[in-house]
Symmetry: C2
Subunit: 481 residues, 2 copies
């Protein structure tokens, strides 16, 4: 016991002398807020909060952690969805915040590239890009807190993946500190480079289990000059897929968003937001929110192009009704309806939420098969699937029966429901985590349902690059007991 | 000795009974042609040539190899540029040809996807895509022999990378047999999938050292409906970069090729091809070959668009002269000039060829610095840089002094020159292998010049996934002695 304590003290002394008082704290007042994830689902403990100011400091700190065998939990904006940045409750790990490393090291407008440190907040990157008449083509709800390091480490998605891909597609280079404290310097952008395994790709999406991302080179695109948003009413979800293909073909590379919303979700939102209005006068089983963005031309011409395409689609029987947003503010109103579904649902009672994907072509059939199966197996529940149809990724929520006891229901029937949803998704060749990652939330389910060959490869790679298991232990990689 | 022989015999018996007479041969008449790479630079020996007919057969064979400790050298079209598919001369390995696995398992025109077995020849894929009014957006000189498995394993490049990326960008899914014979099944396409490390990316470009690619899901694009090709004369290579940026911006997503050719290379080609004519009436220090492809509109309108952009560029002083190909046949004539540079050069005597990249922005300055440095350090040599400026990737050739003895010169001064070129490229933050891979040709140079941190990661991953070192030994990964 004495030995353990003094080793911990020795570690803290060494780390403190390395990082200074701004870089290391053990004060609960500073620590507490970062030990619970933003949704309040996970709470852990930590030896200390370390906040290095540079890659060199991260490297030095990781070396000290390696020397003393101290686990490291990296954290960005603490806005993850899977508890990936929350330590366990053993209190043996340090929480390594990257938030102080928030410099945009360089921006080359001509090349459309910038180098961001891990702690740069997504919103800041958006604003910096805009100031340079560029844009960063990835956004999501947590943009005011999510950091570049966290987005890279979790391969974040969002609402523009249909056209621009996930974070992986935006990352041109990565700098990371490895388990032994060495620095992987992969920031230089080479369009062609066949010097071996693509180690950058291995680090992206690895949730800090193979290395700590300290900076990334990101691509920037020409600023959007035109935007057109439409709200469409449809009889069926299979019809939504046909419309998606039609619009995708007709609008070329401008189609950036194709979200689907069932009627009952729209109803919940309208009940929840007293000032909101339904975009269409009549009810439709399904709604689609379509957004096109172009770097050329103006709003009016893009809108009239989309309008013509939707009129053609209507003539072909691909939709029942459609309305175009006549200005930016109406576009925002349409998106507010889409973005308020989760909040509206929370007001209705407990629900199990699942971030899942199947092949784009199979999604309508999956929804049509899975919702009745769940609803009939768990009487009184109500299924809702909405979101990124164009990515084969919906948020698949199951609402509790009326009167279900919050807290208790999730722990009991809710857990059974989630297991069944993940069974179904796996049967359909899909993913139990489309865009939110595995973190600690789904690591057990991944161990249960993941392909044993892929899991075996993951474990071997993890053990090879982090043999002591100090990098974000218990996250992402299901290790054998 | 007896033991070794009988173990080999036992292995061959087991492999033969697994694959049948069509699947395994030790007859030198069948083997010899595959034991030398197509450029005749490397010759090896092998125990046998195995040609399994299915993924299950590959898996079973690899298990037998693992049992007897037999190294495996996978081979596709044997048209690689770095000796990556040629065994060493120990004769202990088997050559594993994937050529019999040449089925296109499925093609979904609606989704723009197809699943190809490793042995499908690129040309066949092009023709199949075309028959479905689609295209596969990667091509290269060896398309008549290069196989999908080889292209995936080497992350092949080509002339359309500027717009469509390397092979990595075309691969939506991978199936591979791992070192223990297990099958990694990653063919299902999910636009969003965050279930852990992206193992597919690890296999792409790993040259058969981590697994044997047996099939891949590839993306297909709408067929090209319009093409416009231009030949441009320019005073400087830095001017070529300015023109690249100008055309890239003005032509939007249609710019697919931007190749640069110095005047003296064009001269060599014109000497070499008696029927060829210079596209422009006067000499220019540099030439650029520009190609735009569109899935919409017709040739005439795309040509007039490009013509207008080039006229604007000329007015802005970005080029000296330009001519547009007036039909397909003239486009082909322009490309023939570009594609004949290597052949024309060979007629001039020995040369050292280097497939290198640096950041796109730095390429002109690199060429301007590196050629004089080499020419002055090695008197009588002549440097030539030509190719994919838009990718930061040129073919950097150094021609021998007049009278140099073929064979001898390459082995002596040539080797020193290559080492110097790779030193310079590394100093400029570039890659000693842009698109041809490492194979056996550059593995020593990669060991000498690679980032020690990246090399360390590669070795650890290689050892973790192929602990016995049986998958394509001696290729790609510089192992410590």
């Amino acid at each position: 016991m004495t030995t353990t304590l003094s080793r911990t003290d020795a570690f803290l002394d060494e780390a403190r002398s390395l990082l200074g008082p701004k870089g290391l704290t053990t004060d609960p007042a500073d620590l507490t807020q970062w030990l619970t994830d933003w949704r309040g689902r996970y709470t852990g403990r930590a030896l200390a909060l370390a906040a290095p100011a540079s890659t060199a400091e991260v490297s030095a700190l990781v070396k000290v952690c390696a020397k003393y065998g101290i686990p490291i939990v990296p954290q960005g904006g603490n806005s993850g969805m899977a508890g990936g940045a929350t330590p366990d409750d053993s209190g043996t790990a340090i929480l390594l915040s990257l938030r102080r490393m928030n410099a945009i090291r360089s921006l080359d407008a001509e090349a459309g590239q910038c180098v961001c440190e891990a702690g740069v907040i997504l919103q800041t990157l958006h604003e910096t890009a805009e100031a340079n008449e560029l844009r960063f083509p990835l956004t999501l709800g947590g943009k005011g807190s999510a950091t570049i390091g966290g987005l890279v480490s979790t391969n974040a998605g969002g609402t523009q993946v249909l056209r621009h891909g996930t974070m992986r597609a935006q990352v041109l280079g990565v700098e990371a500190v490895l388990a032994d404290g060495s620095i992987f310097d992969g920031l230089t952008v080479l369009k062609k480079d066949n010097r071996g395994f693509d180690l950058k790709q291995l680090l992206i999406g690895s949730e800090g289990t193979l290395g700590i991302v300290t900076a990334a080179t990101l691509r920037l695109l020409p600023v959007a000059s035109a935007r057109a948003t439409a709200w469409v009413g449809l009889p069926t979800i299979t019809g939504a897929r046909s419309l998606l293909r039609f619009v995708d073909r007709a609008m070329g590379d401008t189609l950036e968003g194709f979200e689907v919303i069932p009627d009952h979700c729209l109803e919940s939102v309208l009940d929840h937001l007293p000032d909101a209005r339904a975009p269409l006068s009549e009810h439709h089983e399904w709604n689609a929110l379509i957004e096109c963005i172009s770097a050329e031309g103006d709003n009016a011409s893009l809108r009239s192009e989309l309008e013509k395409v939707l009129a053609d689609a209507m003539e072909s029987g691909l939709l029942d009704d459609a309305v175009l947003a006549s200005n930016e503010s109406q576009s925002e109103d349409f998106w507010l309806l889409r973005d308020s579904i989760s909040a509206a649902e929370r007001a209705l009672g407990p629900a199990m939420q699942h971030d899942i994907s199947v092949p784009v072509e199979a999604m309508p059939e999956f929804i049509l098969a899975a919702i009745p199966e769940i609803e009939s197996s768990f009487p009184g529940t109500k299924g809702a699937a909405f979101g990124h149809l164009g990515d084969g990724n919906v948020h698949f929520h199951i609402l509790a029966p009326t009167g279900a006891k919050p807290g208790e229901w999730e722990e009991n029937e809710g857990k059974l429901i989630s297991a069944r949803v993940y069974d179904l998704v796996t049967k359909w060749g899909g993913s139990i985590s489309a865009e939110h990652g595995i973190g600690q939330m789904k690591v057990e389910e991944l161990g249960r349902l993941g392909d044993p060959v892929a899991l075996g490869m993951m474990r071997k790679v993890k053990e090879a690059l982090d043999p002591a298991g100090l990098l974000n232990p218990g996250k992402l990689v299901p290790m054998p007991d």
